[in-house]
């Protein structure tokens, strides 16, 4: 098999060797759990405490509560459901946007079904929240606003400061949940500065392990537990701790934060190069999402007249891995809701490719990608019904 050119880093990243090395002892000799009054058990407790401190330091969140979860999806669910747990439909409302991740969007749908007033703010053609709608939607009943800092499909960096100002001015009691999953690699995350009530993220998107997520919560924590069992490390996440995952996640966070500026500069250069190449060498393409205020590791183009699953599969034959917004490639055959929300028609949404760059991406990889892509687009266009 040829060398794999991996351009799907928003789906997942490869756990770094550095992180694996840090995790390994906790799968081997230090396999125990946090247990009081024993050498083996207190060593583990210390490792968890150190991991927590490492994360707090990296995010400037020294006063925050750190809660480990099974994934980013679980983190989002625990925050939203934990905040809403004891609320009554007629007394509490909640706000997110139409382009947030399903781990937020679908939880909001669940509450809408239960009778809560759920408002999904529309976005403009680049994926930015419409602030006029937010201003109009927020009121004294608004319990929670969930915002994703960097959109997972089109890389839009929300103007969080502006949104926060609107929310805090309209209702200081409204809790802000900020999903930073796709932001950690490229955006500065300073918990104090962000002043959100909850941050959520996932390990496997930042070169950490799969099966671990995180909530950073402002104290006092304004959510209720939704999971019950033996409380070991946190009342919000009972049961046996994923010790290797926690250790691995903490090093992945620290590493991402330490290397962020250099990484971001490299991503920006590669992004600019690939965007130039695509626009220069292939006609009838359109960028989805903003040009500026876009995460440097995200590229998303629609290729007119052709369908994304076909492009994706032909690239796959050449060992190049990307993602598509085509309904054909999704398990539920639905047209991509984010591309619809920014006003793309069906043809544009089906013909979209998401190319997400990572630490291992090189300019040479992008050259191989573009050289493979050109004939694929040509042949599919030649046999398309749409001209």
């Amino acid at each position: 098999m040829d060398k794999i050119i991996y351009l799907d880093n928003y789906r997942t990243t490869k756990t770094s060797d550095y992180v694996i090395k840090k995790m390994k002892p906790y799968m081997e000799e230090n396999f125990y759990l946090s247990v009081s009054f024993t050498h083996m058990g207190t060593d583990i407790a210390e490792a968890i405490d150190e991991s927590t401190e490492r994360i707090k330091k990296a995010f400037n969140a020294l006063d925050a509560e750190i809660i480990y979860t099974g994934s980013g999806t679980q983190a989002n669910n625990m925050v939203i459901q934990g905040v809403m747990r004891d609320e009554q439909p007629e007394e509490a409302s909640m706000i997110t946007s139409v382009i947030d991740h399903p781990s937020i969007n679908n939880v909001f749908d669940f509450y809408r079904k239960k009778g809560f007033q759920v408002r999904k703010i529309k976005v403009d053609e680049y994926g930015f929240w419409r602030t006029d709608q937010l201003k109009e939607a927020i009121n004294e009943k608004t319990k929670l606003v969930s915002i994703t800092l960097v959109n997972h499909t089109i890389g839009t960096i929300q103007k969080y400061g502006e949104l926060k100002k609107i929310i805090r001015e309209a209702n200081p009691k409204t809790l802000i949940h900020l999903d930073i999953t796709t932001a950690v690699m490229t955006q500065k995350i300073d918990f104090k500065e962000l002043d959100a009530d909850f941050l959520t993220l996932s390990g496997h998107k930042i070169y950490g392990p799969k099966g671990i997520g995180l909530i950073v919560a402002k104290k006092p924590v304004k959510m209720k537990p939704v999971l019950f069992g033996t409380v070991v490390t946190s009342p919000y996440s009972p049961g046996a701790d994923n010790v290797p995952g926690i250790v691995g996640l903490s090093y992945a966070v620290e590493d991402a934060v330490n290397k962020r500026e250099a990484h971001n500069a490299k991503m920006k250069e590669l992004q600019k190069y690939l965007m130039q190449q695509i626009e220069e060498k292939i006609d009838k393409v359109e960028l989805n999402g903003p040009v500026d205020e876009r995460a440097t590791d995200n590229i998303n183009y629609s290729f007119r007249h052709i369908e994304g699953e076909s492009i994706m599969m032909f690239l796959d034959f050449d060992s190049i891995v990307v993602a598509t917004g085509s309904a054909c490639a999704s398990s539920d055959l639905k047209v991509n809701y984010i591309l619809s929300a920014i006003g793309r028609d069906h043809e544009m949404a089906h013909g979209s490719l998401r190319i997400t760059l990572g630490r291992d991406t090189t300019k040479e990889d992008l050259d191989v990608f573009i050289e493979a892509l050109i004939p694929i687009v040509e042949r599919l266009r030649a046999q398309s019904t749409i001209k």
């Binding site: 047209v335 030649a382 046999q383």
Partner: protein, 211 residues
């Protein structure tokens, strides 16, 4: 849901599709589907001595759509018009070593395209009119081309449609889905698309019953 894999036959026909293109001055041609539903197929054909002498297709669609276009045109070539008319999605799928149920929707189009091109030929060259009367039975027949992606069966045989009434240009349908059914929206859009194509329907009301 587990990740889906195509058979090697599908991959082969996707990579090297047969009969791609458009026939100039065809005896019959048709275009079915739309970018809105994700796929579109056009079929054009030449008939000589009541046999399909040449046939070509174009596709805007995914691998299963392209592969089915390729295999259906291969199967139809050389057959009599009546034989070709009888080709089914299953004939194509079997020849391809099977297709994932979720892909039925995309792949059935090539078969529809072939049938529509033959009807066009019959209409133009032979003067055969395919007039469809509109009643509850014909609506049910039409709904049989709406596929439930989870199983690959149509929504009538799958017994999802619980109630259907047609009166004065208005169709009322009740359809049931499980709360967690991810295909609900897809099926509803398909129903709308199919019924909108039928003359004589002015109003469609679909009620979803969740259980």
């Amino acid at each position: 849901m587990a990740a889906i894999k195509y058979t090697k036959e599908v991959i082969e026909h996707f990579k090297n599709p047969k009969n791609v293109g458009e026939i100039e001055n065809p005896d019959g041609d048709a275009i079915v589907g739309s970018p809105a539903c994700g796929d579109q197929v056009s079929v054009s054909l030449k008939v000589k001595d009541n046999k399909i002498e040449d046939i070509k297709f174009l596709s805007y669609g995914c691998a299963s759509n392209i592969a089915t276009g390729s295999i259906v045109t291969e199967l139809a070539k050389g057959k009599t018009v009546d034989e070709a008319k009888k080709l089914t999605w299953k004939d194509a799928a079997d020849k391809l070593g099977g297709l994932p149920p979720v892909k039925v929707h995309c792949s059935v189009l090539a078969v529809d395209g072939l049938k529509a091109a033959i009807e066009d030929y019959e209409g133009k060259k032979l003067g055969v009119k395919h007039e469809k009367r509109l009643d509850e039975q014909s609506i049910i027949e039409e709904l049989k081309s709406v596929i439930y992606p989870k199983t690959g069966n149509n929504i009538i045989d799958e017994k999802l449609v619980k109630y259907l009434k047609y009166e004065n240009g208005k169709v009322e349908i009740e359809i049931s889905f499980d709360e967690t059914d991810v295909y609900k929206q897809n099926v509803l859009e398909e129903i709308d698309e199919h019924l909108n194509e039928m003359d004589g329907i002015d109003d469609i009301e679909v009620k979803v019953v969740e259980y």
